[in-house]
Point group: C2
Amino acid sequence: MSERLVVIGGDAAGMSAASQARRRRDADDLVIDVFEMTQRVSYSACGEPYYVSGDVPRIEQLIARTPAQFAQQDISVHLGHEVTEIDIDDRTVTVRSDGESRSVPFDQLVYATGARPIRPPMEGIDLDGVFHVKTLDDAEAIRSAAESAKTAVIVGGGYIGLEMAEAFHVRGITTHLVTSGAVVMNRSLDEDLGAKITAGMRERGIEVYPGHRVKCLADKEGHVRGVEVGEAVLEADLVVLALGTRPVSELAAEAGIRIGPTGAVHVNNRQQTSVEGIWAAGDCAEALHRLTGRPANVHLGTVANKQGRVAGINIGGEYATFPGILGTAITKVLDIEIARTGLTQQEAEEADIDAVTATTESTTMAGYWPASADMTLKVTAERGTGRLLGAQIVGGGTAGKRIDTLATGIWNNMDGLTFSMMDLSYAPPFSGTWDPVLVAARRAYEKAV
Amino acid sequence: MSERLVVIGGDAAGMSAASQARRRRDADDLVIDVFEMTQRVSYSACGEPYYVSGDVPRIEQLIARTPAQFAQQDISVHLGHEVTEIDIDDRTVTVRSDGESRSVPFDQLVYATGARPIRPPMEGIDLDGVFHVKTLDDAEAIRSAAESAKTAVIVGGGYIGLEMAEAFHVRGITTHLVTSGAVVMNRSLDEDLGAKITAGMRERGIEVYPGHRVKCLADKEGHVRGVEVGEAVLEADLVVLALGTRPVSELAAEAGIRIGPTGAVHVNNRQQTSVEGIWAAGDCAEALHRLTGRPANVHLGTVANKQGRVAGINIGGEYATFPGILGTAITKVLDIEIARTGLTQQEAEEADIDAVTATTESTTMAGYWPASADMTLKVTAERGTGRLLGAQIVGGGTAGKRIDTLATGIWNNMDGLTFSMMDLSYAPPFSGTWDPVLVAARRAYEKAV
């Protein structure tokens, strides 16, 4: 008799799990049903700012695979179906669609509900013209609003905030960004780098208002018309709230599945939850941080894809493990590339690791190469040993992806001196003779040891 | 009493050694004399093609530091001074300048003579208008000739050949490249990738003539007027020979310093030669290949800088080692980026390593990102274990520098599966969700295990 796999949530983690399980077990052996609340599955949320900007013209470009494509693989995708309850004793989920609920049995369950935007207690948050960025529907609504907007305010100075600021700016909209932090990106980078990005955004015409919480103001028809920032009022036809996201773990918690200290679902390295046969993956699940040894919860497509893959391979009858994260991330705002991996100085301190951080000013290519741009690297190393713990990059074109080389060194527990002598590539259109990552790692080592 | 350090050759390796020794020992303790045959020291040979193209307008931009700057550091640079003999018993070198020779004593000696272009037995090689690419004088002579040239022929399909072809092409010169190989880059990459580059060059207007050896033809004044390629004659106002380089090791060999199997000077990992107090570094010295365990001899600024640094630190009284090479290199021809590290399939076979190679077709950025370009990755892994052995990349903008991430994985003896689960960065303007290096490493692993 065949087993039944139910997947709750049809984006990166859920669909990766379904696909990997299917590759290893055919439809006679495993029936797969995916329940997705929205009307779309398997899309690139990370691409949404670039749909809003117009860099990506059509919303379909952000969809990796359609329900019809999954159907060919014998994966049944049920759109507009919300799972409202998990019964771990009966091994059933309750699914609601078109106002009706039914019970669906499962043998294996993948919990991949993702994350939802934080909605702070902010006055005016429900006005017309105030948006969150999460689903493709959100992206379509924002682009539609942007087509007639002249002024926009972004609330939030993290990844999504910066990406949306770029999107509006390139559309020619007067764009203001308000953040409660002293600088943008203050949860991801050390403050000096955040200050550099803040200054760079201002130079490029995006005004930044740090250290502010906001209140949205309405015109008389209930549409947003501006944002109150301290004493000032910023005019806004359009407001985007980008204040971070939270794992959707309530459904799991109510079912008695263990929730970890981050508020996300606890999993082991095979993506098993505390309940046999129930797996979790993606934004709603925890991930081991390789440097702190503690559970973390990051909301990134990279992690969701990998965790979903691991769950699916295991459900498929093979053995796979998720090796944990370093907290690697990258973005850009206009021509400023921003990347990080591992721990910042502050994060190391919070994890009780004695660390030092060295800053290296360099250039993306040979100094004399015409397209060469400034780049700042911060590298964090363990005091005493010089072991690499983290890196942060802010710079011009090609700066950002260098974070992967540093991430690979950190992954392998390299110390900064050993790292600095590696045989990396060089030609004038690509770097100086000593690639800046080598120099930056050596400086961190010298400071640490 | 102070010691005397003599450095033979004032480019990357020699000047790095001198600088690092000086940082650790002051002029009362160590007198440093550098003897350089040419009229310049410390320049970027790798930048010469970009001076010829005009990307780098002034030759001075390629000079990292001048003799005057070294003098401030109490390093005496003697230009136009050729060392003609080393006496390892008397501990002296014979130095010739302005037709006169004198004997100079040393306690420590750094042999950093570099490499010289191969001059094959080719008819017409000494004609006017036929150039090699080595010194800044060469670069100046070529650019001067290029200013009036309408047609150019490059002989040689390696790094310098491609870079010079780009340089002439961007100057608007009709450019032909002739190589004895079946495709360009056939000593650095597998043939399928060489074929891809060859096709790409042709599409971009640089004609390539593979499988040919050439003969330069003269006009009646002894200036080159063309190149005979099989039955055809290619018109050429200007011919550049880029047939590789050989280590300048004769002087060492004559002195009784051990030469290794590559023809370069044998060194240990502190850059010591077989003679106490005599060090060698750079193009003229061997380097341990970390994967084959055999001595290699590569002519790259990266290795020269690192080896010179190691020699200088050791002469300075500290302890440093050169950890060996992977054979990492990068270049580009127009918008085609080319990079490699470790072993190709053929190199693995030559080293008696049982290897497999998987090819992955991908894109530099998210598939839907407008600037995304095609990229081909080949990854070589050890059969049975899946240990990463090598990688080759050909692709559009931002493809090439990904080689550093793979090189770091290979350096750390990662297998392709472990590599594929690393936490690397992703955002649509930078890569797909799974960076192509992760996918390529996994494919190689799956093929190997």
